[in-house]
């Protein structure tokens, strides 16, 4: 992406996101090259991911979408210095090598805790058959360098907890 296009994106911060907002969505194909790059990056390997599996064909590793939440956010925002605090993963069914999947990231909660702004978002991955493949939950501290006064509570539930 060019720097001009990058500067058009909003900064990723407390003021630019809301609960329920779609951070982004896209379709990707799980090519053998994409899977190979993942396996190289995490130093993993298994016949199931390359030659065949009990599911009838080679499958993608469960964590194949490990970076996609942030990748989708970065496609739509200028982000710096967020700290990943929690992760949740639900593997509904394996994705097949060569399958085209739909990914959608939605901000599910924003709250203040220990003087910092926290963001929780959910990525749903849907297969070509329309069935859920995986759900990834991602919680980050928005910035370690900002002051508490910069974070106005946005979640009624969490606001009560803070009191």
């Amino acid at each position: 992406m060019s720097s001009d296009m990058n500067s058009e994106k909003p900064e990723f911060n407390w003021g630019s996101i809301e609960v329920g907002m779609v951070a982004g969505e896209r379709e990707i194909t799980l090519t053998p090259e994409r899977v190979a790059a993942h396996l190289e990056g995490v130093e993993a390997g298994r016949d199931w991911y390359e030659t065949g599996s009990p599911f009838g064909a080679p499958i993608a590793p469960p964590m194949i979408f490990i970076n996609d939440v942030l990748e989708i956010i970065d496609e739509n925002f200028r982000r710096f210095g967020t700290i990943h605090a929690k992760s949740g993963y639900r593997f509904h069914r394996p994705a097949r090598i060569g399958e085209r999947v739909h990914q959608k990231v939605v901000f599910k909660d924003l709250y203040v805790k220990r003087g910092k702004g926290w963001m929780m978002c959910e990525m749903t991955v849907t297969g070509e058959d329309g069935e859920p493949v995986a759900t990834y939950l991602h919680t980050s501290v928005l910035s370690l360098t900002r002051k508490q006064s910069e974070f106005e509570p946005k979640s009624a539930l969490k606001q009560e907890e803070e009191k």
């Binding site: 990056g41 130093e43 298994r46 199931w48 710096f80 210095g81 700290i83 949740g88 593997f91 370690l144």
Partner: protein
């Protein structure tokens, strides 16, 4: 399994009971692994960020560069594929918190112990029991850096 980890033989997931400990896995998170992972998530490019560059990390309020928390979650996931097989790829779950930073050179040990076993229809997947584990990654100094639960299905 790679040259960068070690593990014992795994029990049959279907025979597990609460309190059982699962043989763990040791994995070094060296600078080489961090750069390799960063290259992967950066589309094949070497980039400067809080994971690869001390100065960038300090500007973000960190003492120095740290590994990404989710990087070693893939080790947990692969270990659970070894343990549960299809019952992890279709029905598996992981929930973890990154409670302490992982620094270049850390050697992480995955510990896992059976917390409970849910019968079919009680939070488990269709037709299978869900084995829920307490999992943690502990560094070479005995400090827990990642902690949470994970589960897979058996007898599905």
């Amino acid at each position: 399994m790679t040259a960068n980890d070690s593990r014992g033989s795994l029990p049959s997931a279907g025979g597990l009971a609460p309190g059982d400990k699962i043989p763990g896995i040791d994995r070094k998170i060296g600078r080489e692994q961090i750069l390799k992972y960063n290259r992967y998530v950066s589309g094949g490019k070497d980039t400067l960020n809080i994971h690869t560059d001390d100065e960038t990390a300090r500007r973000a309020g960190l003492p120095r560069a740290i590994a990404t928390g989710r990087h070693p979650v893939s080790f947990i996931s692969e270990h659970l594929v070894d343990l549960f097989g299809m019952g992890f790829c279709a029905g598996g779950e992981i929930d973890v918190a990154f409670v302490k930073p992982i620094f270049p050179g850390d050697i992480l040990t995955l510990t896992a112990e059976v917390r409970e076993i849910l019968p079919p229809g009680d939070g488990a997947g269709v037709g299978g029991r869900r084995v829920v584990l307490d999992v943690a990654l502990v560094n070479q100094e005995g400090i827990t850096v990642t902690v949470g639960t994970a589960s897979g299905l058996v007898d599905a």
